[in-house]
Amino acid sequence: MRKTLLYSALILLSALFIAPFYWTFMTAIKSTAELYQFPPVFWPSEWHWENFAAAWNKQPFGTYLTNSLIVVVLSTIGQLISSSLVAYGFARFRFPGRDPLFILLLATMMIPWDVKMIPLYMEFNLLGWINTLKPLIVPAYFADAFFVFLLRQYIMTVPVEIDEAARMDGANAFDIYWRIHLPLMMPALVLVGTFHFMNAWNDYLGPLIFLNDQSKYTLTLGLSMFKGLHEVDVTSIAAITVILCLPPLALFFVAQRYIMDGAVGSSVKG
C-alpha cells in the first residue's frame, strides 16, 4: 500500500521532469506544418528523422563536435586528478594556514563570474591563448573549489583509523591517497567526473568569450548560432538540443549504477 502510493507520486513527479524533454524531441521530429498547430501536436503523424541530419549539416557541426570532445576529455582528466589531490590534502593533514586556506577555497566558489571574466580574458590574451581551446582546458588542471569541497566532505566521512593502520604498515602519504582514498571515493569521483563533463559539455559563456573563429567553436556555440539568425529555427534548435543531450545522458546511464551501487559504506565498515 505504502509502496503503491510512493510509486504513484514518483510517476507523477517524474512526468514533470520528462515532459519538456519529450516535447523537445517531438518538436525536432515534427513536420513544419505540425510545429505551429494549436492545440499542440503530441504525437506527430509523420516522423521526420531527416530533420536531425538537416540541422547537423546547416553548420560545420563535425568540427564543433571534435572541439567539444577535446575540451571535455582533457579537462575532465585534469579535474579528477587535481581536485582529489587537493581534497586529500585538506582532509587529512594539519598544517600551518590550513583553515584560512580552506575558507579561502570556499570563498573562491562565491566569486561571481563577472568579477573574473574581463581580467581573465586579458590574462589569456597576454599568454596568446585567445581563440585556442587552452582557456577551456588548462584551468581544470588546477582543481575546482566546488569539487574539492565535495571530495573533502567525502573523505572526512572515512574514519581516520584506516589511515593510521596503513601508516603503521609503512604506507606513505601518497600511498594512502592512491591505494586507500582514491578507491574509497570512487563513487564521489564518478559524481565529480559526471558533473564536470556536463559543465564542460554545456559551457556556453567560456567558448563565447575565448573563441573567435568558427573552426574553434564548440557545440553549444553552434546551437546558439541558430538563435542569432533573424528567424528562430525551432526544428534545428530542438534537433541539435537532442543530439547535444545524448552523450551526457549516456554517460549518466553508465555512471549512475557506479555512483549508487558503489562501495560507499560497505568498505569503510568493520
Partner: protein, 319 residues
C-alpha cells in the same frame, strides 16, 4: 624526496620536529595545484577587478582614479542597485529552501525503492543534462501564452492561463520553476549521501524500538549533515549568480520584475561599458555571498557531524 609519514617507533623530540616539517611539505604539495590555480586564475583577476572598481574604467579611452566613488554612488544614488538586489534576495529566499527540501524528499523517496529506481533517478536528473541555451528555449515554449504547453494543460481544468512571462508577479515565479527544474544535481548529491549511511545504524535503532521519525531526526539528518551543508551553500551561491535563465527568458522584464543583481552587473559591463562600476557591483555581490555562506557555516557547527574529523588535539605542529 622523502614523502613518508612520521614512523611509529618512539620518536625523539628532534625527529618529531623534522617529521612534522616533512609532513607540512607533503601537505602543501598535495594542495599545490589549487594554490597555483588560485594565484593565476583567481587572485590575479580578483586584484585586477578590485583595482578596476576604484577607477572610472571605460572599455576605450582614458581611465581615471575615482577612489570609492563607484561604491558610494551605487549604494546611495543608484535605485536600480537596491531593486535588483531585492529581487535577487526574494529569488534566493524562495529558491534555496525549495531546492533543498524538494531534492531531499525526492532523494528519500528514491532511497526507499528498488524497482525502477534507476529510471526515476534518471528522470529527475534529465533536465540538468540540458545546456542553458536549450533549457531556456524549451521553457519559453512552455510558458508561451497562446501556444504554451502549460496554458494548454491548464485549459483542461478550465483555467484561462495567464501570461506567465508578461505579468510582473508571475515572471519571477516562472523563473523559479524553471530553475527548480534543474534540482537533479542537488538530489543526486543527497542520494549519494543517504546511500553512505551504514544500514546497521537503522537496524540497531529498529531493534531498540526507535520509531521511524526519530530515526530520521537522530540518524538520517545528522549523518547527512555535511552533504546538506554543501548543498545549502552551493544553492545560495547559484541563486545569487542567477543570470542565464533570466537573461534569455525574460531579459529582466516585465517592468524590471526579473532584473536580477547579476544582470545589473552584466548590463553595466556589456551594455554601458562601465567596467569600473560593474567591477564594484561584482565586489558587492561577492561580499554579500561570502558573509551569507560564512554565517551558514558557523550556524552549521551546531548540526553537522563529521565521523572522520581530525580532532583538535591529535595533530602535530598546528600553528
Amino acid at each position: 624526496m622523502d614523502m613518508t609519514y612520521a614512523t611509529a617507533a618512539a620518536p625523539t623530540v628532534a625527529k618529531r620536529k623534522r617529521s612534522a616539517f616533512a609532513r607540512h611539505i607533503v601537505a602543501y604539495l598535495f594542495i599545490s595545484p589549487w594554490i597555483l590555480g588560485f594565484l593565476f586564475f583567481t587572485l590575479g583577476p580578483l586584484v585586477f577587478s578590485l583595482t578596476m572598481s576604484f577607477y572610472d574604467w571605460p572599455v576605450v579611452g582614458e581611465r581615471t582614479f575615482v577612489g570609492l566613488d563607484n561604491y558610494r554612488s551605487m549604494l546611495f544614488e543608484d535605485q536600480q542597485f537596491w531593486e535588483s538586489l531585492w529581487i535577487t534576495v526574494k529569488f534566493a529566499a524562495i529558491y534555496v529552501p525549495f531546492n533543498i527540501v524538494m531534492s531531499f524528499l525526492l532523494a528519500l523517496m528514491l532511497h526507499h525503492i528498488r524497482f525502477a529506481s534507476g529510471f526515476f533517478r534518471t528522470a529527475f536528473y534529465l533536465p540538468s543534462v540540458i545546456s542553458g541555451v536549450a533549457l531556456v528555449t524549451i521553457w519559453s515554449w512552455i510558458y508561451s501564452r497562446e501556444y504554451g504547453l502549460l496554458n494548454f494543460m491548464l485549459s483542461f481544468v478550465g483555467i484561462d492561463g495567464p501570461n506567465w512571462l508578461g505579468d510582473p508577479n508571475l515572471a519571477i515565479i516562472a523563473i523559479i520553476i524553471a530553475s527548480l527544474w534543474g534540482l537533479g544535481g542537488t538530489m543526486l548529491i543527497l542520494l549519494t549521501g543517504l546511500k553512505a549511511i551504514p544500514k546497521e545504524l537503522y537496524e540497531a535503532a529498529t531493534v531498540s524500538g526507535v520509531p521511524g521519525w526519530a530515526q530520521m531526526v537522530f540518524i538520517t539528518l545528522p549523518m547527512l549533515g555535511p552533504m546538506l551543508l554543501f548543498t545549502f551553500i552551493t544553492s545560495i551561491i547559484s541563486a545569487f549568480q542567477q543570470l542565464t535563465i533570466a537573461l534569455l527568458l525574460t531579459k529582466g522584464g516585465p517592468l524590471g520584475s526579473t532584473y536580477f543583481f547579476a544582470m545589473y552587473i552584466y548590463d553595466n559591463a556589456f551594455k554601458y561599458f562601465d567596467m569600473g562600476y560593474a567591477a564594484a557591483g561584482s565586489w558587492v555581490m561577492f561580499i554579500i555571498v561570502l558573509l551569507l555562506s560564512l554565517g551558514v557555516m558557523r550556524w552549521s557547527a551546531a548540526w553537522v557531524y563529521y565521523e572522520g574529523e581530525v580532532r583538535q588535539n591529535d595533530g602535530d605542529g598546528h600553528a
